[in-house]
Amino acid sequence: MTTKPALAAVDDDAAPLSNQQLRELYTLMAAVRHLDTSAVAWQRQGIIPGYAPELGQEAAQVGSGYAVDRSRDFVFPTYREMGVARAMGLDMVGYMSTHKATWHGGMYNPVESRFAPIQAVVAGSVLHAVGWAHGQTLAAPDEGTGVAMTYFGDGASSQGDVHEAMNFAAVMKAPVVFFIQNNGWAISVPTERQVAGGSVAARAAGYGIPALQVDGNDVVAVYEATRSAFAHCRNGNGPVVIEAMTYRRGPHSTADDPGRYRTLEEERLDAGEDPLERFKQRLLADGVADEAFFADAQRKAEEEAEVIRMGIQDLGPRPGAEMFNLVFQEPTPALQSQATAWREESEHV
């Protein structure tokens, strides 16, 4: 499935993933799978009001997030990139707090995490990535530059901002990786009713941007494509489009009922291979890991999710004063007086 128009600087010299890295990738995917299914359960148990599952997209998310260099790159997510966040080592209680309805953007520090605040507007951050990336060019034009990676889906690719972002990035040769997770569904609308021309990657040609369409259920393929794209961007060759073909195995959100728009049979036929299981079989076959390792990864994933659950449950509501304090760096007198009135009238004296 991988098509390879020549990237100007394909990272052919890069060492293949070591066995330890392969095992680390699996451990990450297992952690993400378990946290994802746990979060759905937490919603049913009333611990969080809602959640956007990424079941089936673990390889696309972990494989791409694993390629990020946190010392210089920056990632612009939407609201379904839990696996990227985990692969980049985010504070996951801080990440999941958005689903607890604690703070829209999440409670992690985006500057330190190199992971922009969670974004509810699809395609909302594609242009931010272009701007950030161009900033890297302006700041240090000759060095191996930091790369921006922006995530969006097949649905979001319909938004006009995506066109603007790709055009800007190509014109300015901005070091941006446009990472599309084509998961087959934009809530109830299948890709074929969403994306004209068959793929998002195909559009890149119109902007003169090289595009890689990869099997998004193959974590190693995703990682390698992302690594090559980063190398291409870093060397001043401009943006790259990666379209990872995967499948949203779950509902759009915990309040969605996919039975209204797709049958179980269609799900079975379309879902393809389970990325986690597929990677496991590969590691087994190659002798990279054994059953004991997988059992251990599962145990660690369960322990980790348990710690996150406790962290989430311990998260109290933020102090209401933050509503007012965080609007401006330099608060206005009018807003301060509203804060005073709020404190007095809403029993927070």
Partner: protein, 276 residues
């Protein structure tokens, strides 16, 4: 339900130098409790999909924390239909099964280690194969469940010549059992009729003799109340019991040979029996 259903061409080693192209699937448990895998062997003119997936067995076992290995018999389901008759003999199939479960990670039984060994569930023809597999692999097989078992093999009595005549020029088949089995085989488009007849021919060459080798490990025998073939179930039970194995039997009220497979009581009894 978040089960890791996986499809892969598992076959990596061949027995006797030829690859029979059997279609293998490994279905991971809903949550891995480190229990030994379960091998499912389907019946004549069926497939893993019909016999085990559509009937709800795979998900039920996965939910019970079991890793499930399914194999389509030669000429059935998504397996190949080899030309040579030898690929269809029960002894060759047993050898292939052994290679498949080994490739899928089954390890010889070690006392006190619930991850070692293999449980086997067979149905109809699959029960015969399971009986023989258990008898010949005492170091590997932990427990066996036999659905719709019979000490006599209806395929051994199949009138192959009449069937071939019927297929050639439409001559009616006198033997009712033969006519019924052929009709069954013709009904599924996924069946390769040539392969079905090869399997029957091979079985006629190696007819079932449960007394020749009986399994020593604990056995659960299950049949529908209206399953005529299961009349011989007590015979099998006593054969196994004489070898000193624990034998349990269960008769499901109201069910026939065909429809006992979906029965909840059957599944629950099997899971409980194998869970020990």
């Amino acid at each position: 339900m978040m089960t890791g259903r996986h499809t892969v061409e598992q076959q990596r080693h061949t027995v006797e130098g030829t690859d029979p192209g059997l279609f293998v699937e490994v279905h991971e448990p809903a949550s891995d409790a480190g229990l030994r895998p379960v091998l499912l062997i389907h019946g004549f003119s069926s497939s893993s999909k019909l016999n085990w997936a559509d009937s709800g067995w795979i998900t039920t076992l996965q939910d019970a924390g079991r890793r499930v290995i399914t194999v389509d018999l030669p000429g059935h389901g998504r397996s190949h239909s080899p030309e040579d008759l030898d690929s269809y003999t029960p002894s060759r199939i047993r050898a292939d099964l052994l290679q498949i479960v080994t490739d899928a990670g089954a390890r010889p039984l070690r006392d006190g280690d619930p991850s070692t060994g293999l449980d086997v569930i067979g149905y109809s023809l699959g029960s015969r194969l399971a009986w023989e597999f258990g008898a010949t692999q005492p170091d590997l097989v932990h427990r066996i469940v036999l659905g719709g078992p019979s000490s006599a093999d209806p395929l051994a009595a199949f009138d192959l010549a009449a069937a071939q005549r019927h297929l050639a020029d439409g001559t009616p088949i006198e033997d009712q059992s033969t006519a019924g089995l052929l009709k069954m085989a013709q009904m599924l488009p996924s069946n390769n009729l040539f392969a079905m007849l090869s399997l029957i021919e091979a079985i006629k060459g190696e007819p079932f003799d449960p007394a020749e080798a009986a399994p020593h490990m604990p056995l659960l025998l299950v049949a529908g109340e209206k399953d005529e073939r299961a009349a011989t179930m007590p015979e099998l039970a006593s054969l196994a019991a004489r070898r000193g194995g624990l034998v349990e039997t269960l008769v499901i009220p109201g069910r026939t040979h065909t429809n006992v497979i979906t029965s909840r009581a059957f599944k629950e009894a099997a899971i409980e029996f194998l869970g020990v």
